[in-house]
Symmetry: C2
Subunit: 120 residues, 2 copies
DNA sequence: TGAATATATGAACAAGTATTCATATAAAAG
DNA sequence: CTTTTATATGAATACTTGTTCATATATTCA
């Protein structure tokens, strides 16, 4: 019986390995940013918007009509996509056209698609 | 004043474009699965676990110790990762070793990393 | 067999988030 | 200038989700 405090009874089995791995971990901030980035793709509406924009730039009400959702919902999500620097916008009178602003998204989606289709 | 019902006042500006884009959209189920897949990456704890497993297979308590989290929290997240077919496990007595079970993850992370570092 | 230990898991709670609703803004048209 | 229309946005709500806590399971060791 040792004097470990009851609130911290964490055990390590391979301490040496753990320390080695710890030294090679990327900085926390990087991992946080990566999670934030992927969070954007974790929603069907945003995925659908992005697949729409893969094909063509499009205005807000067209996207809303295409996806069968309210203009407000689409506008809110476009805001998120813009915050993640994934889309840009171009204003023409009252109409705002959104388009893709990233080269990696398609590659990322293709890899993701490979994963979900390759499981036997 | 026309007789549009007030609940369905959706407007389309470029109907022809919309129909063309609609025909080329991937099936809904595919988009849903893709979103579910990326949802897994949208959490710092899971990202950290995966970066850990990039380096070495590791048992649950070592991961918990390394990341400074409870065994329960890690176990719950490993369950999610297993559900997404991203990790596999190997039992050795009481100890369960987890390891990566996917070739695409690293590529996806690298693309994501490029995105978040390339914004000026 | 009984105690110790590594992991898994269900329930509860807190925090986060997507959509809706109401409304604001801004540009065009009358 | 007033009305219409395309978009943006704040607040509220419903839903989702990550962690904790308590406990179950399973394996080793005495």
């Amino acid at each position: 019986m040792n004097d470990k405090s009851p609130c911290c009874d964490i055990t390590v089995i391979h301490e040496e390995l753990v320390e080695k791995v710890r030294r090679n971990m990327p900085p926390e901030e990087e991992l946080f940013n990566l999670a934030e980035f992927f969070k954007v793709f974790g929603d069907t509406t945003r995925i659908r918007i992005l697949y729409t924009l893969f094909q063509s730039e499009m205005c807000v009400c067209d996207i809303a009509y295409l996806l069968g959702m309210t203009q407000s919902a689409i506008s809110h999500q476009l805001r998120v996509l813009k915050g993640a620097k994934l889309v840009r916008h171009r204003k023409e009178g009252r109409v705002v056209y959104y388009s893709l602003d990233d080269d990696h998204v398609k590659a990322i989606f293709d890899q993701g698609y490979k994963h979900i289709t390759e499981r036997n």
